[in-house]
Amino acid sequence: MATDIASLDSPTLAREGVTGKVLTPGQLIWRRFRKHRMAVFGMIGFGTLLLFIIIGSIYISDERANAVDLQARLQPPSRQYIMGTDSTGRDIFSRIIHGGQISLFVGITSVIISVTLGTLIGGLAGFFGGWVDSILMRFTEAMLSIPQLFLLIVLGKFIGRDIDTVVLFGRTISGSVLIVIFVIGLTSWMGLSRIVRANVLSLKEMDYVSVSKSLGSSQIRTFFKHLIPNTMGVIIVASTLGLAGSILSEAYVSFLGLGIQPPTASWGNMLTAAQTFVQKGSWWMWVFPSIFIVLTILCVNLIGDGLRDAFDPRSSRHL
């Protein structure tokens, strides 16, 4: 399907739902997205997860999620503890709700950091070209050559882990949350910056950009008003898929014990030392948090896939 409305024949128009009325690009994208069954499924799933976490945290306080009860250690799921308790007797169900808040918060904020960095670095490299481009791209390449998990671990140690607890939204949480956010944000912008650079490189040769320049637009205006908004589709898709990546990264570092520190729960740190529990048979300690991680990532990936198809009309990826 071509993007140019004028070149579409009437059956295509009918399929796209165009009936006389001219649709904005946003409406067209929404229409295509809605037709992507799996993406809608992902959207509903993600919405349900969010509702579960929000409603859950209204009824269950974070004191309860962090409360240690040595009398009730390693309880299997029962009526009192729906998902059992962990090795210090904390209720896993409450920790999943509050851990989910932290995991999603870390995911979203670190994506904001990485998308901003990726857009700026890639955009500037493509816009200025020359030695700016060379230096920025070599730096990007260098960062890409070190596997992300290695970078996460080293950078996490670099920033230091002895930060005091911080109060965020009326909750006292471990300072390690902030470190994890920065570390993930600083290590996951490279892919996007390459895509944005390529986009800007081709966009800046387009006629409308030269027109805008000849009308006297400053470089800053050209960059932010004309080039970046036209790469928005790519950026939105990359940030959705990046959200899945960030949640996964948080889970990995916390799983290795180098991420978010207890008592603050996150889905990742509920799994720390999980291999010992596997051998001892307390499956509920790692199965429930893992399932929530998998479901969240699955839903976000499905949404991202749907968005990619919706933004790219030529894409042949369909389920």
Binding site: A142, Q148, L149, F150, I153, L256, Q279, V294
Partner: protein, 319 residues
Amino acid sequence: MWTYILRRSFQALFTLVIITVLCFLLTRFSGDPLAQYAANPRMSAADKEALKERLGLNDPLYVQYFKWLGLAIQGDLGNSFFARQPVSEMIGQRLPNTIILMLSAEIITISSALLLGIISAVKQYSFWDNAITTFSFVGFSIPIFFSALGLMLIFAVQFKAWGLPYLPTGAAVWDKSDPVEYIRNLILPVAALAFVNTAGYSRFVRTSILEVLGLDYIRTARAKGLTSRVVLFKHALRNAALPLVTIVGLDIPFLLGGAIVTESVFSWPGMGRLFWEYAQRSDYPVVLGILLIISLAVVILTIVTDVIYTFVDPRIRLG
């Protein structure tokens, strides 16, 4: 061709310099390597100062960097503070294990991804295609620790409990020179890695085969009266498998990252676990050594992948 390789190598050299500076700065400031002596009463402040002097930790930073780089080029990565052993020796002992793990996982991943991708593409929209697509989406969203813990629970813990022949969890000490023991310990980590990676690759193979099957030369081959088997395996598969070369090449950093988790779950004596253990102790010669080896491998493999690609796909000409 040769000018291309030369230019790429020159760029890579520049990238490598950035990598060494980056890694050096990050690891050098990530925690105090002498922290292990902090609680030692026999160690006076003067002793500590003397030790610092002897280890060269008091030199200006650039002196330390060039000293390290000069020795690293000659293959001397320094000594571990903690193990008091040459780093190159420590890495040398672990490297073969990681390579064996990665290669076996990669071979199984590629062959099963090709198999699943072909079935999926040839029987598009059939029951099997839908089943494989679902598997690939779910598998793609599964963190490696989940597949690792799940496999461990089933094949190591439960099989033992049910009295069936079971696989080791890697927790017990085992004889690394015994080939049977080695393979028994290798099976689960390889399966965990292959399971997760197959998911993404099989989806990729499917898309790529479907794209190739729509091309003109395939129609010509069919029109000649060739059987669909010949068309698929002799004509379509060759071109469809090409992009896999790039994907495999680009995925190596991710594979190595995944190895940290897999190796630590199964206590596999590889480089990833070595890195994780020594990063926690801030033993920076070891951490730095591993980062250098891995990024060197990634940089070289990227160039090799690009060059191989031009050999297998004559349509691409490098300028």
